[in-house]
């Protein structure tokens, strides 16, 4: 393992705001993130915490009306903000890739799975048609889909959510990314499928040594997959720690509230809820 002290992805003071009917709303306030090679970082929070927005901003996937400001967004030391559009697009999809929450909706209904996988190979590799097809088959095998040849000819509406998510993962893994961002990849899936997808992601991460950012609202997922955790609430970072410390010794009131709301932690006969009247944002770590 090479010993570059430089983080793989470094984000400093990222803010995102949107114009709305009532003026400009800030959805992310001065958030900073750092992830090293082969690390698994979890960003956890409820809806509205801005957890997806941060990574969408890094990938450049926010709508044009969004206002994105940051001191620095650097990948392998290279500044993504000042880079040209063309340079950026060489990195997005190949070295950094992303999968999303609604797998069937995330695939284009007009094209086959094979088309959509081979498309990303065509964009970022020199493989010829035969090579792309071969690689697509390999990828489907790697993500655990049986009958890859048939699967490549299928359309998204002919497949289940779990299968589509595996296709998305195949697309994301196609060019051997150094960083995979997973935005709530299992939220829209059945519980049994959730487990399979998470195991698949963990296995791929271990095998390839890529870094992974797991965005989720599920503390259980955090416990199973992450090395380090960032807790967010209303667009601000509340706490950041390695996973064991976070669970055993949560420092921020909000983290404590989140953890105590887990059913596993129920002590009495009433499930604790998060008291939103408390101002969590007052405390910053």
């Amino acid at each position: 393992m090479d010993q570059t002290m430089e983080p793989l992805l470094e984000v400093q003071n990222l803010s995102v705001s949107f114009p709305t009917a009532n003026g400009e709303t800030t959805v992310l306030h001065n958030a900073s993130y750092r992830i090293d090679r082969s690390e698994v970082l979890a960003i956890v929070g409820e809806s509205g915490s801005g957890k997806s927005v941060a990574m969408l901003a890094v990938m450049g996937l926010l709508p044009g009306t969004a206002r994105v400001t940051a001191d620095r967004i650097a990948f392998e030391g290279r500044d993504l903000v000042s880079m040209s559009e063309k340079e950026r697009r060489k990195i997005i999809g190949s070295e950094i890739s992303m999968i999303f929450q609604e797998p069937i909706a995330s695939l284009n209904p007009c094209f086959t799975a094979g088309f959509q996988i081979e498309e990303v190979l065509k964009q970022h590799t020199d493989l010829d048609k035969k090579g792309r097809h071969k690689r697509a088959v390999e990828l489907l095998e790697a993500v655990g889909l049986p009958n890859p040849e048939d699967r490549l000819k299928a359309y998204p509406h002919q497949m289940s959510g779990g299968q589509c998510q595996r296709i998305m993962i195949a697309i994301a893994m196609a060019c051997s990314p150094k960083l995979l961002i997973a935005d709530e990849p299992t939220t829209a899936l059945d519980v049994t499928i959730q487990k399979q997808i998470l195991e698949l992601l963990a296995r791929l991460q271990a095998e390839t040594g890529m870094a992974m950012i797991m965005i989720t609202h599920d503390m259980g997922v955090v416990a199973e997959t992450a090395d380090r955790v960032v807790v967010q609430y209303k667009g601000r970072k509340m706490e950041e720690a390695d996973v064991l410390s976070l669970f055993e010794n949560p420092k921020h009131a909000y983290t404590r509230a989140l953890l105590s709301a887990l059913p596993e932690n129920a002590t009495g006969d009433r499930l604790p809820t998060i008291d939103y009247s408390a101002d969590f944002t007052g405390e910053t770590l």
């Binding site: 996937l61 990195i91 997005i92 999303f100 995330s106 284009n108 209904p109 094209f111 509406h157 697309i171």
Partner: protein, 335 residues
């Protein structure tokens, strides 16, 4: 896919029956004696009246008359025109190519300008281009096209003298009609200047006829595009690092075109069915002008037959459009 086809075909039957009922009832609802109306004569001696009564079948029960009528239709008998004494069906076939040529040309213009305009407006949403284009589209859509045509004639034929005022080709030229399409026939004839003449006669009516479809297509394309651009799979395409051109032109466009194709198809149906106003203004000898002339001339067999033929034509075009839609939409094509 087959089930889709079958269900569409099934719907046609009752509608077609309804159309025949309307046409059948049309003559009987008119004020005046139907025999006299269909013969086009005012007074006639009683023997001739009886003969015609029998010939037209009015002495039989009405249900029998209806079935005779439909039977005739299915055999291509749509009546005889009072003014020209020709079979209505034959006249229709003679005049239809003129309307078809005009409609195809207009549709071509509408698509070539409308779709790119709609796409660009969607991509540059809120910009000056977007507002201007949609403003122009709205104006085109709100315009009485008979007035628009007259205005263009004043400008291009009257003041500038660039285009002729009426007809399909200059009277200098005469050549046999092969396809019925003046542009093609003029090329085939080899006569010098014929093709240019045909084209110069075609261009102004096409522009006028294209105005409303163009506006509708531009608006539809824009809204379909806007909806598609917000979809998850467009975000995925961007996340793959694909170029802007490819995201819009391949991923977004394919999906946006699906509803737009339906719109285009419906517009074609309307155009084919008689660009009545345009043909009237430019004295374009197509089925639209044929119908309006026949109505004013009280050539009722033509009106009756024309109704059925035109409605059948529209239904046919709509069916083709439905099928095309089924082919293009992958959710329907693949079970």
């Amino acid at each position: 896919m087959l089930r889709f086809l079958f269900s569409k075909l099934l719907l046609i039957v009752p509608t077609f029956i309804g159309i025949t009922i309307v046409a059948f009832g049309f003559v009987r609802v008119l004020p005046g004696d139907p025999v006299l109306l269909l013969a086009g004569e005012r007074g006639m001696n009683p023997d001739r009246y009886q003969a015609l009564l029998h010939q037209f079948g009015y002495d039989r029960p009405i249900v029998v008359q209806y079935f005779d009528y439909v039977w005739g239709l299915l055999h291509g008998d749509f009546g005889i025109s009072i003014s020209t004494k020709q079979p209505v069906f034959q006249e229709f076939l003679n005049l239809f190519p003129a309307t078809a040529e005009l409609a195809i040309c207009a549709m071509f213009l509408a698509i070539i300008i409308g779709i790119p305009a709609g796409i660009l407006s969607a991509v540059k949403r809120g910009s000056i281009f977007d507002q201007a284009t949609m403003g122009i589209a709205l104006t085109g859509y709100s315009m009485p096209i008979f007035w628009w045509g007259l205005l263009l004639i004043i400008l291009f034929s009257g003041i500038l003298g660039w285009t002729p005022v009426s007809g399909r080709i200059s009277l200098f030229y005469y050549f046999p009609s092969v396809t019925g399409f003046m542009t093609i026939d003029s090329l085939l004839s080899g006569e010098k200047g014929a093709f240019t003449s045909a084209l110069s006669h075609l261009i102004l009516p096409s522009i006028v006829l294209a105005t409303i479809p163009l506006a509708v297509i531009a608006r539809q394309t824009r809204s379909a595009m806007l909806e598609v651009l917000g979809e998850d799979y467009v975000r995925t395409a961007r996340a793959k690092g694909l170029s802007h051109k490819r995201v819009i032109g391949v991923h977004a466009l394919r999906n946006a075109m699906i509803p737009v194709i339906t719109t285009i198809g419906l517009q074609i149906g309307m155009l084919m069915a008689g660009a009545i106003l345009t043909e009237t203004i430019f004295s374009w000898p197509g089925i639209g002008k044929w119908m309006i002339d026949s109505i004013s001339r009280r050539d009722y067999p033509v009106v009756q037959g024309g109704l059925v033929l035109i409605a059948a034509l529209v239904m046919f075009v709509n069916l083709v459009v439905d099928l095309l839609y089924g082919l293009i939409n992958p959710r329907i094509r693949h079970q």
